[in-house]
């Protein structure tokens, strides 16, 4: 008999595990992945996740029941990151640029509408599943664009949840998502052009 694909939710032993652990531990891989992307170091990422978990545990009684735990703990992670050394450095680097671009985010698109051909080089790169190239392009994103892309595409959060995590309006989330993807697209194009020149 063929059964449809389905996911089993791992049931944890309630008598051994606290409610906080039940909610937080399954999110460890996601928290660590985002922390590593933002801090760019395994050690910093582990410190960041540990500090986030301890802050969340100490403030768990403040967590509003019925609200989104994932968004809540990611907000703590993000605030912890912003006050960390790597976060402060990233903010200093991109804050001005980000603020300036924010003002014209609903202005004209950064590339002509409908001008994408199916066989553009960067599309070919994606089709080939060139993960390393895409990761390289993502690495070049400034922190505010990278974090929104990670939450949207990797963590599959809705715009509303992302707005909660980043404490910004939904319109800003939308514009950052658009800018992040446009930037990745330009980086892919640059990487492609460089690789062509090298191979000539």
């Amino acid at each position: 008999m063929t059964l449809l694909a389905w996911k089993r939710m791992e049931r944890e032993s309630g008598s051994q595990t606290s409610p906080f652990e039940e909610l937080a531990l399954p999110l460890l891989p996601s928290l660590y992945n985002v922390a590593f992307w933002l801090s760019r170091s395994s050690t910093n990422a582990e410190d960041l996740v540990q500090e986030t978990l301890l802050k969340a545990l100490r403030g768990f009684s403040m967590f509003e029941s019925g609200t989104n735990f994932k968004a809540w703990i990611f907000r703590i992670l993000r605030n912890t990151y912003l006050t960390s050394l790597s976060g402060l450095a990233a903010r200093r680097t991109v804050a001005l640029e980000d603020e300036l671009n924010e003002k014209c985010e609903w202005g004209p698109a950064q590339y002509p509408e409908g001008a994408i051909d199916r066989q553009t080089p960067e599309l070919n790169l994606i089709q080939m599943g060139n993960r390393a190239t895409l990761q390289k392009a993502m690495e070049q994103l400034p922190a505010p664009l990278l974090e929104v892309l990670l939450l949207c595409d990797v963590e599959e959060m809705k715009y509303k949840e992302i707005a909660t995590v980043l404490e910004i309006p939904i319109g800003t989330v939308m514009s950052r998502v658009a800018r992040a993807r446009a930037t990745v697209r330009r980086s892919l194009m640059t990487i492609y052009e460089s690789s062509r020149e090298v191979s000539r």
């Binding site: 891989p29 409908g114 599959e156």
Partner: protein
């Protein structure tokens, strides 16, 4: 032809963030505009590729164990602090001491109960979200799957007997369905790790999945009524059955279908 779709709309389309009205408008435009269709395809491919590329760093088992242990230590520390504070008060022998101890005990029990309820609500909320996601995923997978459902029939006398011996419970299928609604097919599946009958209905041009399970102590599906990824979910519970319906049809029409199926179990 109208203007091309804007970049924010193309992104929102890829992210499943368009309202039903916006989606209909976008789909209408895409059906006439190869250029925007190409853009939309690109955005979807980029999103999917980014999702894969973004899953880059995983904590080692040792690191996970360290972090889990650190949480456990913090929990023990919190518990021990709570215990140390209470201890001297209980040993006090005078009346006021006892009164204070009783008051503290009552407050502590009250706080514990409140925290317990909050924690339970948080856990229930997470389970609720997981159930909604799983039900939606299965509904989408059924509609997208290349393999046909296991029983294709609009005859309830064909569909119901097919489940005999496959499920640890039985259910009734209603004879009369709401106007414009037909039974199309059924599947044996699993939701939340439990054997489930998935009934596929057409409601007008929309498709609906109704999942029926043996009633359990788990109350998370009961009274479920929410939206998830553009789908409406309605949960119901009868004496023997727990059910969830998923569809992108108008919520009122989905509720009508749920009402009739629920009534058929009485």
């Amino acid at each position: 032809m109208t203007d091309h779709l804007s970049v924010p709309i193309l992104n929102a389309l890829a992210d499943g963030e368009l309202s039903a009205e916006q989606l209909a408008t976008a789909n209408h435009h895409l059906s006439q505009c190869p250029s925007c269709t190409s853009d939309a395809l690109y955005q979807s491919l980029l999103k999917s590729a980014t999702a894969k590329a973004g899953q880059r760093y995983a904590p080692t088992p040792n690191m996970q164990a360290r972090l889990a242990l650190r949480i456990r230590e913090e929990l023990s520390f919190q518990n021990s602090q709570h215990g140390d504070n209470a201890h001297p008060v209980v040993r006090s022998s005078n009346f006021y001491g006892w009164a204070a101890a009783v008051a503290l005990l009552l407050i502590s029990v009250g706080v514990t109960l409140v925290q317990y309820n909050w924690s339970r609500s948080a856990t229930a909320s997470a389970q609720y979200a997981a159930l909604a996601t799983e039900a939606c995923d299965q509904h989408i997978a059924t509609l997208a799957a290349n393999s046909p459902p296991e029983v294709i029939s609009s005859d309830r006398h064909t569909v119901k007997p097919w489940f005999q011996g496959k499920l640890p419970f039985s259910f009734n299928l209603p004879e009369n369905l709401p106007s414009g609604t037909t039974l199309d097919a059924a599947n044996l599946t699993y939701v939340h790790g439990r054997p489930t009958a998935q009934l596929l209905y057409s409601v007008g041009k929309h498709r609906a999945s109704v999942y029926l399970q043996q009633r359990s102590d788990d109350k998370i599906a009961n009274g479920l009524s929410s939206d998830h990824s553009g789908f409406h979910l309605v949960g119901f519970r009868t004496r023997d059955i727990d059910g969830i319906a998923v569809s992108d049809v108008d919520p009122a029409r989905l509720s009508d279908l749920v009402g009739i199926i629920s009534h058929a179990q009485e």
